[in-house]
């Protein structure tokens, strides 16, 4: 073996991933550009000869033993050839996995310091390598698939996730919905947030018009949970908080804080209906409900909530609600919860800062209203929480929903004729399409400020 190790943990070889079933064309491109000759892996060959390459045709991956200049030429060939998806240095994941026959005594420690399980059956060296190569293939295919982090419609943080977004002046969510570029503030629009109440003494809301009501027997509006204060912050937080960043969308909207969930986060349909009734009686143009209950596949929506939502729309009040967090993607994907599954309530899905679907966000699975309507920022969302903590981060479709409510308020201000269902249609029509994500996950896309 000519290249046993390098200082950075790579082997000195390169891994090449070909497009599916395109390894022949890819091998020719490599050969033409870099003079790499390709052997096909078999039972005997576990590593390429020096200066050569070894192809694993089942997984469309080749290991290329190449000096740096040859590797550069190979990378250039990759850029030219659609048959090559990726080239990267091969790493030592399990030291010596290719060259040392397996025995329990020789089993090296994995990179995380944990002993590999002793019960693992012996495997010939080539299959160990194949496991690693298959992992490489899977990783690249994940990164480059249409909805993967490298290629998703990334207006913000391409591939690198939340850490890449500069949140020093405004949160990634407020940036993502373009509120920072909007001349609208929600002025004159009433936004009801039906939740765990609000910290009415939070300094960021001093001087704001706040109407509040508790529908929880024995509990004041004062938020003993933090969820309500967080959601109100996202929907209606200030343009210029004393401590940056900006985290609120409709910074001049009138706030209606309805407490329909108690301080442990629980509430009943009856309390929620009482809150909706209060919001409509107060002519709130937007009602934000970051709450819900799980729904099974095939389960219908509540006809009571649907009737109420229709009456709300007729009265000029648009209800937006959290789609729910029951999923554990990619393996478990659950349907939109109650009451967001009502046809006349807009269901809001959650996105991360790379504009990928959040791992917990539910999908439109059930017919008749169970679809996702729109999507909003819902992962690692920074907003207000009760004093003295003042600020905090939360994730959930609960966090995406008040972004949508805030944007609805801006749209309502900009379009005085658009109320109720017309406002909902405007919210969807102006959303940023997320072409690489299924509509069942994100509906019309990421809501956008006017």
């Amino acid at each position: 073996m000519p290249h046993l190790t390098t200082d950075d943990g790579t082997t000195g070889r390169f891994l090449v991933l070909f497009a599916e079933d395109a390894h022949e064309a890819g091998a020719k491109a490599l050969s033409d550009a870099a003079g790499v000759s390709m052997a096909v892996a078999g039972d005997e060959a576990a590593a390429p000869e020096e200066g050569g390459a070894l192809l694993f045709p089942e997984i469309d991956v080749a290991v290329v033993d190449a000096p740096p200049d040859q590797a550069d030429a190979a990378v250039a060939a990759a850029a030219e050839s659609g048959a090559i998806l990726a080239i990267e240095p091969e790493r030592w994941v399990r030291a010596l996995e290719v060259v040392t026959p397996y025995t329990p005594e020789s089993m090296p420690e994995a990179g995380n310091g944990m002993k590999a399980p002793a019960a693992e059956p012996p495997a010939p060296p080539p299959s160990r390598s194949s496991d690693y190569l298959a992992g490489f293939r899977d990783a690249v295919l994940y990164l480059t698939r249409p909805d993967g982090p490298m290629t998703a419609d990334a207006g913000l943080a391409v591939a690198a996730g939340a850490a890449a977004v500069d949140e020093s002046q405004a949160t990634w969510g407020v940036q993502g919905v373009k509120a920072v570029f909007s001349c609208r503030s929600g002025r004159g629009i009433k936004v009801a947030v039906l939740d765990t109440g609000m910290d009415l003494n939070h300094p960021d809301f001093a001087g704001r018009t706040i109407t509040s009501q508790s529908f929880i027997p024995g509990q004041a509006v004062q938020d003993g949970h933090s969820h309500g204060t967080h959601c109100i912050g996202t929907a209606c937080g200030p343009k210029c908080p004393a401590i940056r960043p900006r985290y609120g969308v409709a910074y001049e909207a009138d706030i209606f804080a309805g407490k329909v969930l108690n301080n442990t986060g629980r509430g009943t349909d009856g309390q929620i209906l009482a809150g909706i009734n209060w919001a409509i009686a107060n002519k709130c143009e937007v009602i934000s409900m970051s709450l819900g209950a799980s729904v099974q596949v095939g389960q219908s929506f509540s006809t009571v909530f649907e009737t109420v939502a229709q009456r709300a729309l007729q009265a000029g009040s648009l209800i937006v609600a959290a789609a729910g967090n029951d999923s554990n993607r990619p393996s478990v994907i659950k349907p939109v919860g109650h009451p967001a599954n009502c046809p006349s309530i807009l269901a809001v899905a959650a996105l991360d800062s790379a504009l990928g679907i959040a791992w917990f966000s539910n999908r439109g699975i059930n017919p008749q209203g169970g679809q996702i309507d729109i999507a909003g920022p819902g992962v690692n969302v920074y907003s207000s929480v009760p004093m003295p903590t003042r600020y905090g981060r939360k994730s959930g479709t609960s966090m995406a929903t008040p972004h949508a409510a805030g944007i609805a308020a801006l749209l309502a201000e900009a379009n005085p004729g658009a109320r109720g269902s017309a406002l909902g249609q405007l919210l969807a029509a102006t959303a940023q399409r997320l072409m690489t994500l299924p509509g069942a996950d994100v509906g019309a896309g990421l809501i956008q400020a006017p």
Partner: protein, 74 residues
């Protein structure tokens, strides 16, 4: 059980009368939400409530739970 009842459009103007009739049919502690045409309360059965004139639908009241303040996803 807690219940929620919608009132038909044609009876919204007389929702108080519907609430009284619901009480006669077994609804306890009725609360009238007149802006949305809903009456909530408690009852032992839904069927008698749905037979009341002016009632569109009677449903059991569910519960929602967003989890504790420190839940990883909310």
């Amino acid at each position: 059980m807690d219940v929620q009842v919608t009132v038909k459009d044609g009876h919204l103007a007389r929702i108080g009368e519907v609430a009284a009739a619901l009480q006669d049919a077994g609804l306890r502690d009725p609360q009238v939400l007149d802006a949305i045409g809903v009456i909530t309360g408690a009852a032992d059965a839904l069927e008698p409530l749905e037979e009341v004139d002016g009632v569109l639908k009677a449903e059991p009241s569910g519960e929602v739970d967003i989890g504790p303040p420190d839940a990883p996803v909310q």
